[in-house]
């Protein structure tokens, strides 16, 4: 990790106002991603992975409110920028690959034209130049016969092809930070592998900081140098991949690893994680949101969460780490 991180999120808290109360979706989320680094945000559904990404990109649902925190990018706080300034950054310096490419692409516009739009808007390309650049980008994400495919509508392409177009869109302006939100969910394993190869390869080539959001710990472990484990709006552990996989410190991360079916696992040996995520609408949420499910719970867990950091950068928010 380089000295100055490409993106640093500090103490980010997000609330959603709903009819049945305020949902405290994120609470003091903090992490940093270095230039050229690929880091993963891992957790169960509802743990706040996507909300973190949306908050940083400033595309939260209007019901969501950022109550505290900073997201530092190149010396500026993304959370303090005006709508107009952030729109300049989005797509150019900060980019995002969305889950389900078919719904994220415009269904009634040819994919080549969608790519050209980005280039004209953010890279100042002329419309003629954007066309050739768009085809160039499609070639880069290894779409066969890019000249012809540029004229296709999203429905004419397979899921893997659509995802390649999404990647081309996200990378068109060579962003400094890329957030990939479940980029391979719903794709076949063979396609998943080629898409992940492509993302990591392009990331290494352009030196982008990449955040991979996934619920698949195996995928994160294979492709990322660092893993941040989220649970109910907290980052409970943040560690280099090998350190986490060999010796997870947070009880939740350990359970998550034990529950993931791996090559050598046997069904009886796989652990389940008892209990559910706590109701984030409760006003009296305990400091540790995992404590109700935790086997290592003690009285100390009533105190505000600590943050132990080891020399190798392995951080854990737990009173009784493993």
């Amino acid at each position: 990790m380089s000295a100055v991180p490409a993106l640093e999120v500090r103490d980010l808290s997000v609330e959603f106002r709903t009819r049945s109360g305020i949902v405290r979706a994120l609470d003091n989320v903090g992490f940093a991603v270095g230039k050229g680094e690929t880091a993963a945000l891992v957790g169960e559904s509802g743990s706040g992975k996507s909300v973190t990404a949306y908050a940083v990109m400033r595309i939260l649902d209007p019901a969501g409110k950022i109550t505290a925190g900073r997201a530092m990018f190149g010396g500026i706080d993304l959370l303090q920028q005006s709508e107009k300034d952030i729109a300049e950054l989005r797509g150019r310096d900060l980019s995002m690959i969305f889950q389900s490419p078919r719904t994220a692409l415009n269904p009634i516009r040819r994919v080549g034209a969608q790519l050209a739009d980005v280039l004209v808007r953010h890279a100042g390309a002329t419309s003629a130049g954007a066309r050739t650049q768009a085809i160039e980008m499609l070639k880069k994400v290894r779409i066969p016969d890019p000249e012809r495919r540029a004229m296709a509508y999203p429905f004419e392409l397979s899921g893997g092809m659509c995802q390649r177009v999404m990647i081309a869109l996200a990378l068109a302006c060579r962003p400094a930070v890329l957030i990939a939100d479940e980029p391979t969910t719903g794709l076949d394993v063979t396609t998943q592998a080629t898409i992940m190869d492509l993302i990591t390869e392009l990331a290494a080539e352009t030196g982008m900081a990449t955040i991979l959001i996934t619920h698949d710990l195996g995928l994160a472990a294979e492709y990322c140098q660092r893993i941040m484990v989220m649970h109910a709006g907290h980052v409970v552990e943040d560690a280099p991949t090998s350190a986490l996989m060999q010796r997870a410190l947070h009880p939740y991360s350990a359970k998550l690893i034990a529950a993931t079916p791996a090559a050598s696992a046997e069904l009886d040996r796989l652990a389940s994680i008892p209990g559910n995520l706590p109701d984030l609408r409760r006003a009296d949420l305990p400091p540790c949101r995992y404590c109700a499910r935790c086997e290592r719970r003690t009285d100390a867990c009533e105190q505000p969460l600590p943050r132990h950091v080891q020399p190798d950068g392995h951080a854990v928010a737990c009173w009784n780490p493993l």
Partner: protein, 365 residues
């Protein structure tokens, strides 16, 4: 277990290695099953020229399931893997008798089911014998049925249960699947993903099927819940002595649960064999690419992995002499475009449809 059943083009018999698979004739015997869908011709044109044009210009056919033969023994779990669009779902719908096959046989304990039309099957006495757990429990449960109604519906229709007998059976099923009885009055939107999966399983096993088809039963679940559901399925199989046909694209899950695996590619079975054997020594380039694609943190970054390039061939009127995998196959040769490889036996129970199967098995995974 000594002589494989005589069922067409080289089909694996029940295997000696297949754990608790019992001896005797297979429970399910699928014989040279085919399903073709007409495609392409504009509907209006067909209406305007009802008889003349159709006889003259043959309509293009999509070969969704092509010459598929396999067996499932009693008590056996067979996994069916393959990418989207390879015909898994069509095959499952044929076996489950929701679709009529174009050609071929489906025998359940020796009785031919392929001749019963799909529309009549719901009222046939065989309906209860094959049941299915659908992919997304959230989408497949009727939103206006409570959990109780969802589980009771097949019992009312197929077992003619009513009143207290019905209530007792539903409660028994809730206990069996680990669904708290207090949740029986709830609607699907009031249940968690894991609870909905339990309702989906409970209603499928309600009528005591002999064959349970599971279509990606855990795809929509978090890993923590997935483990519990897989363990539930494993214990139910033993307690109720069912056979499973387990459809999934998560190979790690297939490896955990299945005795035997069928790998499907573009409508055809390209490899079949005992799960441990297929995962350790795949004999088809496609299977190898599938296995190499499983994310594995332990894998060395330097080791070369098989990756597929290119798009699958069109399933519409495919050339019967060309290997369906040709074009994506790293090995493809002229020979592959002149004669389509058929399933052939490599070792006991392990079969692959590739001219170079021995070559593939020779390289360790």
């Amino acid at each position: 277990m000594t002589s494989p059943p005589d069922v067409g083009s080289g089909v694996a018999g029940p295997l000696p290695t297949a754990g608790d698979a019992t001896s005797g004739p297979p429970l399910l015997d699928v014989i040279e099953l085919r399903k073709r869908f007409p495609v392409g011709a504009p509907a209006v044109g067909r209406l305007l020229t009802p008889f003349v044009a159709r006889s003259r210009t043959r309509q293009p056919l999509l070969h969704a399931v092509d010459d598929v033969s396999f067996t499932i023994a009693r008590g056996e779990t067979v996994g069916l893997v393959g990418e989207s669009g390879c015909g898994k779902s069509t095959l499952v719908r044929l076996i489950n008798r929701l679709l009529d096959p174009t050609d071929g046989g489906i025998r359940l304990a020796g009785e031919e089911l392929a001749l019963i039309r799909a529309r009549d099957f719901a009222r046939s006495r065989h309906r209860a014998r094959i049941q299915m757990v659908f992919q997304d429990a959230g989408d497949s449960l009727n939103p206006r049925y409570t959990a109780f109604d969802a589980i009771a519906d097949p019992l009312r229709r197929l077992k003619r249960l009513t009143g207290t007998a019905l209530r007792a059976r539903v409660e028994e099923l809730a206990d069996l699947t680990g669904l708290p009885q207090i949740l029986l009055g709830r609607f699907p939107h009031q249940l968690s993903g894991g609870q909905k999966a339990r309702v989906g399983i409970a209603r499928a096993i309600a009528v005591e099927p002999e064959l349970l088809i599971l279509d990606e039963p855990t795809a929509a679940l978090d890993v923590s819940v997935q483990v519990v559901i897989l363990q539930l399925l494993q214990s139910l199989k033993q307690r109720l002595s069912m056979s499973y046909l387990f459809v999934s694209h998560d190979l790690n899950v297939v490896r955990l649960l299945c005795d035997r695996v069928l790998v499907m590619y573009l409508g055809r079975i390209v490899e079949s064999g005992p799960a441990a054997e297929v995962f350790a020594r795949p004999a088809h380039f496609y299977t190898r690419a599938l296995i190499d694609s499983i994310p594995d943190p332990a894998r060395s970054k330097a080791a070369p992995r098989a990756r597929l390039s290119g798009e699958p061939r069109s399933p519409i009127d495919p050339d019967p002499n060309v290997c369906r995998f040709h074009g994506r196959c790293p090995r493809g040769e002229v020979r592959c475009t002149q004669s389509m490889p058929v399933l052939r036996r490599l070792t006991a129970g392990h079969e692959a449809a590739c001219h170079f199967a021995e070559e593939v098995t020779a390289v360790p995974v």
